[in-house]
């Protein structure tokens, strides 16, 4: 689902056909503004026929015919805008549907590799079923990995060609139906019933985009309908007033139905009315292009309102892996001795941190190729001990978080010296993570693991701050470390030593004080916080629980996606607001074109208001109608792409958009109508 051309040639012709199909009354009745145009067009069409039959329909047949044609064009242009937007979504839905096909699934009775599978169709799988998926198989349905580890090609969903690893336990245990296992095998427990899978949700989302109206869209529709009724009233009451004026002044003839309809169509907000649904569909499409699936349009809109962002430190603010930067031995310990212990304790440590410790100890002359691993017993990291290390005969080396080591030392009747604590604090205060290293029950020293803050992230946060969005870093680190990184990355606040409860707590706190909170999460323990947040984005790689609690899923599993989501949400609202302003502002010029023309026969003095010096009453009215139709076509690209968004404060954004769309909306039609009038004279 990468970005497509705005007007794909393949889409143009179906969209054109669709624009005509949408002329049926049922489709038109959905949009009150355009429905008024529709009724008007039908009315003037009758007048054309009436006039062709030789009756007086008020005005020449040519004039009524031209007005009628352009009214139909107005409708077609609005339909076309909607069709183009829908076409783009449909293409996305089609490509998703092609992913979702019936595949054979290997149903297992027990989650054990080697038991004989029954081959069934994927469409019969229910929640709780256990299936085996081997290299080359397509994953039949969404689920969680119970057993095994495999590399999976998820490009069908994410468009990202690099394979990802899916394994049991941890945050990478979730698989999506329709993706393909490239190597190895996994045993998966199906987590959804038929028709509820992730793909199903995506497809219904994309297809349903045009039907579901978001709260703001509803509110705007109400306003547009009210304006339409007001203008209908203005136009309808103009007829009696015109009759009165003709009688009072004993000259001219009352305003004709054709001109009344033309005036009405020009005045009602057709520009925004015609483009409204296209904007909504296109907004949803832009989310899809960003590889984010929202469960509702409401969620997308809410993301524009967010003013507090909860961001995970790791991956968002800093690069995922911390690097060993330095060894700090205690005063009575040789640095090389410390490096040696660090080296041995990290030999079996496959994490990026462990590898970086090995790399650093190379500088002290240790090399993994020259040692004998036979005598060594490696102790892996566990969540309980929060330490890892190695036993070489009776020498016990451990490294881990300083508090874990401290507890370990004290348990073994040793002393965790003040000096060590000082180094720990010193390292933490510069935003690095201290790891303590112990040999037996004595502390040797501290390893500094440095968090590397991502480039450009500080500027990003500054922009967010300008937009009035507060960023809060969530980290498992202690307060000192968190404070240091907060300062370095320019985050507004932090939540240190974060537990799921603490996350939930901080979200509630901000909501209670009137903020809208957005967060990203992937683990099962994030689910309560995700459910509480106003905008919750789950990583596609995350657990099913997280995805279900969230109202959006990021297919790329990118931690910085939240920022992009906020921008897309804002852009959608801005586009609507700007086009509404533009549409209303246009009316000023249209009045100047139509009013003098309409009453020219009764009150010739009104021609003083013809400040555009339009050639004749007929061409003035026709020019206004043509302008009104063409502006819809001209604004389709804007409706689809959205008003350009630059992070800035609300006041400057408002000033900019009001200048462009408000003032622009006043001036543009004066120029446009004059040009059209000039062209009409040449023809």
């Amino acid at each position: 689902m990468k970005h497509k051309n705005l007007f794909d040639k393949k889409m143009l012709i179906p969209a054109l056909i669709d624009s005509f199909l949408k002329l049926n009354p049922k489709a038109q009745a959905k949009n009150p503004v355009m429905f008024v145009v529709y009724i008007g067009s039908i009315l003037t069409t009758f007048l054309v026929v009436y006039s062709l039959c030789g009756y007086d329909a008020g005005g020449t047949t040519g004039f009524i015919l031209s007005i009628t044609l352009w009214l139909w064009f107005t409708l077609l242009f609005a339909n076309f805008a909607e069709s183009i937007a829908e076409g783009r979504s449909k293409a996305q839905a089609e490509s998703l549907k092609s992913v979702k096909k019936d595949v054979p699934a290997k149903l297992l009775k027990h989650a054990k590799f080697g038991t004989r599978p029954d081959v069934v169709s994927s469409s019969t799988l229910k929640k709780g079923d256990i299936v085996l998926i081997e290299a080359g198989d397509i994953i039949p349905c969404d689920g969680e990995v119970l057993n095994g580890c495999a590399s999976v090609d998820e490009s069908a969903i994410t468009g990202e060609s690099a394979p990802v690893i899916r394994e049991s336990g941890g945050d990478f245990c979730s698989v999506t139906g329709g993706t393909r296992v490239l190597s190895d095998w996994v045993i998966v427990q199906i987590s959804v019933n038929p028709g509820e899978s992730f793909l199903d949700r995506m497809i219904s989302m994309v297809e349903g985009a045009k039907r579901q109206k978001t709260p703001n869209e509803i509110a705007l529709s109400i306003l547009l309908t009210a304006l339409t009724i007001v203008f209908l009233l203005v136009v309808v009451t103009l007829l009696p007033m015109s009759i009165y004026s003709v009688n009072a002044n004993h000259s001219g003839s009352p305003i004709t139905i054709t001109i009344l309809v033309a005036l009405l169509v020009c005045l009602i907000p057709t520009t925004i009315g015609g483009l409204l649904s296209a904007i909504g569909v296109a907004g949803m499409g832009r989310m899809m292009e960003a590889n984010v699936i929202a469960t509702s349009g409401r969620a997308i809109e809410a993301s524009g309102d967010v003013d507090v962002l909860l961001l995970d430190k790791t991956g968002t603010i800093t690069y995922g892996n911390r690097q060993a930067r330095n060894f700090y031995p205690l005063a009575n310990v040789d640095k090389k001795v410390l490096a040696e212990s660090c080296f041995y304790s990290s030999l079996a440590d496959e994490t990026p941190e462990g590898k970086s410790i090995i790399l650093l100890s190379h500088e002290y002359g240790f090399n993994e190729n020259t040692i004998d691993k036979e005598k060594m017993t490696f102790v892996p990291f566990t969540a309980q001990t929060r330490m890892s290390g190695v036993d070489i005969d009776d020498i016990i080396i451990r490294k881990g978080a300083s508090d874990a080591i401290k507890r370990y030392i004290i348990e073994n009747k040793g002393i965790f010296p003040d000096e060590a604590q000082k180094i720990v604090d010193m390292v933490a205060s510069r935003g690095s993570t201290p790891l303590a290293v112990a040999k037996g029950n004595e502390v040797l020293g501290i390893i500094e693991l440095k968090d590397i803050v991502k480039e450009g992230i500080k500027e990003k946060f500054a922009q967010l701050r300008q937009m009035g969005i507060k960023t809060i870093m969530v980290t498992g680190n202690n307060r000192l470390t968190a404070a240091a990184i907060t300062a370095e990355a320019g985050v507004d606040d932090f939540l240190a030593e974060a537990t799921p409860e603490a996350k939930l707590e901080i979200i509630r706190k901000y909501q209670a004080s009137g903020n809208l909170v957005a967060m990203t999460g992937d683990g099962t323990n994030d689910a309560p916080a995700l459910a509480q947040a106003d905008v919750a984005v789950a990583m596609n790689s995350g657990t099913q629980a997280a995805k279900e609690a969230a109202n959006m899923v990021d297919l790329d599993s990118s931690p910085t996606k939240l920022i992009q989501i906020v921008e897309i949400g804002k852009q959608m609202l801005m586009t609507r607001g700007s086009l509404t302003t533009f549409s209303i502002a246009n009316d000023i010029a249209k009045y100047f074109a139509i009013i003098p023309a309409t009453f020219a026969s009764t009150y010739p003095v009104l021609n003083k208001l013809n400040i555009m010096h339009l050639a004749s009453p007929a061409s003035a009215i026709l020019s206004a109608v043509i302008f009104n139709a063409l502006i819809i076509i001209a604004l389709i690209p804007l409706a689809l792409k959205g008003v350009s968004f630059k992070p800035m404060s609300a006041s400057s954004l408002l000033r900019r958009n009001f200048l462009i769309y408000g003032l622009g909306g006043v001036i543009v039609p004066f120029i446009g109508i004059k040009i059209i009038d000039t062209i009409l004279q040449l023809i």
Binding site: G514, L573, F599, Y603
Partner: protein
Amino acid sequence: MIIAYIDLVVFLVVLTFLSIVLGRYIALVFNGRVSYLSFIERPLYKLIGNTGEMKWGQYAKGIMLFNIIGIVFVFIFQLIQGALPLNPQHLGATTLDLALNTAISFVSNTNWQSYTPETTLSYLTQMLALAVQNFLSAATGVAVLIALIRGFVAVEKGTIGNVWEDLVKSTLYILLPLSLILGFALVKLGVPQNFNNYQDVQLINPQVVSVTVDGKTTTNRFTTQTIPMGPVASQEAIKMIGTNGGGFFNANSAHPYENPNAISNWLEMLAILLIPGSLCFAFGRMVGDKRQGYTLYAVMTIVFIILAIGVMLAEFNGNPAFYHLSIDGVMNLLQSGGNMEGKEVRFGVFGSGLFAAVTTAASCGAVNAMHDSLMPLGGLVPLFLMQLSEVIYGGVGSGLYGMLIFFAVLSVFIAGLMIGRTPEYLGKKIESFEMKMVALVILVVPLLVLLGTAISVVIAPGLVGMSNPSAHGLSEVLYAFTSAANNNGSAFAGLNANTPYYNLMLGFTIFVGRYGVIIPVLAIAGSLASKKRLNVTSGTMPTHGLLFIGILIGVIIIVGALTYVPALALGPIVEHLILFK
């Protein structure tokens, strides 16, 4: 013209100063911090019994009940006034349609008068029926506004205050004291306050009047003139303070007993705008952000200045029809100059022009000059000021709640979308329910004005009342319906509206124009009160400061103009173009 500018500036400086002071006091009153009249308040509450917090529906019921009882009372009072005391001229019952029109008109703070007061209503009717409603209708406006403000302030609360308490407080603490002060001042300036019989006086120059009917000419010689008396000052005070505008005499504030001199004229103009202006400042204080109040006051004042200068200029320049007659119409030390038709010499074009702008900016409707005789553009200004839905200061309470709902919420909605957030005003999200109510409010007034005008200019009962069957006739009818629907009450008096058709049409228009706005406003208040109050961040659209002032003015002018431009084009604009051809 320079005198006019100086006068306008001094007027606005004094108005602003007094409004700030009074606004502070009003905020204290409704925050429950003022209680020097509690000895009257407490027994009243005991009498009413119901002093608990109310949901918006209960509040609206209270308002409607209170007002409908008022209408019934005033209606009946006019019919039985012949049997009641304080009726020196022995005036009998009015017609039913007139009684209904007058009852609705005074209860709704409109004070449209189809009748000539001194020959129609007794002193007692003026005092007990009309003057009482002058207080209560203004109190109703304040109560609705205060309920709306509570809606903005409340956080996730279902209630918006107690209607009876709000009505009592606004009457006792605001309207009564101010009326007393103004009443005494007017007496001092020469406005009568008595129950005397009308006085017959000998004319110094007897008048001979010849009338020709069906070819027969009758000539009458008049040697005496009857001068009406009455408790004028007391009614005059609340007529201005409460933006009511219903005159004790037919000539309204052009009458020397209602408005004897330039000083009283100035005081009356000040009194009209005083409460509407000060409510802006009270609003700012009550929502905890004074800048919000300053902003709205600035918007009102800027629009007012532009339009007030417009009407004064139009009148100052005078009528071009005189140019050809070699008549010197230029203002100088010896003559008033400008367009003096329908104006009092003691006020001149500036005193009358400014008054016309003031009385139609606020929904007062008192007049000190005949608006029908204003120049076309001079007449367009009062018409346009009313068509802006009476929010440029507007009526007591109604002006500000109109401004908040018609335009502030509307502007916030459009501007809010433009910065990419769900629109919010004072921390309250504006969602579809609010927009529905706003849509209702936007619809109801133009509906009444345009439909009423359109019907009246094509059917016989409507055309009968018209004394100028030309473009100006359309202006007159348009003015009548605009004034009624927006609860102003002033008139282009060329239209004879004391016919059953106009009495009933306009009575209906006034009623729907008043309560068709009040009920949605209270509904919005209730809905806002139940919402969370969002935090203000730099991502929040500021609803104060120059930018928002500009946007708000733009929305007011454009939305106001777009609705009425065609009608105005066929009325005053065409009149102007023809006259200045």
